[in-house]
Symmetry: C2
Subunit: 142 residues, 2 copies
Amino acid sequence: METFGDSWSLLIMRDLLTLGKHTFGEFLRSEERIGPSVLADRLARLERGGIIVRTPSETDARKVTYSATERGIAAIPLLYEAARWGMGGVRMDTDDPWEAVMAMDRDEVLAAWHRAVREGGSLFGGEESAFARLRARERVVR
Amino acid sequence: METFGDSWSLLIMRDLLTLGKHTFGEFLRSEERIGPSVLADRLARLERGGIIVRTPSETDARKVTYSATERGIAAIPLLYEAARWGMGGVRMDTDDPWEAVMAMDRDEVLAAWHRAVREGGSLFGGEESAFARLRARERVVR
DNA sequence: CCGGATCCGTTTCGATACTG
DNA sequence: CAGTATCGAAACGGATCCGG
């Protein structure tokens, strides 16, 4: 609960789990403009907390990727509810992917999201995103 | 999402919705020792955000109570998931009421919790707490 | 008394510059 | 590109004071 009381940690987890960001630079270029020193601090904290893992590339020392541990993945329902609460039930932007997600079955969304992250993906990011798969499946069901 | 990135606001909402605290003094005497200036600031912010309402007593100006708006009540699922994540699936204290809650059906807990708060109660606080009712019902079902 | 404002030393932030 | 160094500005939080 300590970690999610900090807004930057929350944002990092959001970028990691919903947008599929993995590198220092990607987090740095987030919408909210986090400073590099603060980012480094929060990444270290999250790592110490067992929520993310830092894995430097063996070939190129400059390349470091961050990914969620099982404990980090377990925070997905929390992010889901945070997003739902943040939207406030208001239907403003029909092109917003979050809108589409919230219209789907909660359990199915969470299951697909979990699976995607475990396979190195995320909710929205990448070609094999949970969102893309859910949409494809939705089309089949109809 | 802004409001729940702040740990004090989060704690205030927790005290309000799970422990049934309603007054400045009660929040002040919370486990985490929030300072009066910060508390006043956060209460004002939450009020401006339409998440809580401040209602001074008409008879006694010293008595002021804070309660959750519909928007604040809508944050209950978020608190539920935060609590669940915070426990980390670990079974440490069998007397912990949160443990008992997590063993119950999610939908039923959320429904009872919502109802209790709307009636001026909370999850754990007070005689007519959602928890007390859920336990009573559980005993009947068996 | 109780809700809150004021004051003040300390911590944290965030932005830019810099290093390997 | 990943991360440090630095520094002024802001926020914190703890103690104390004030008004109804």
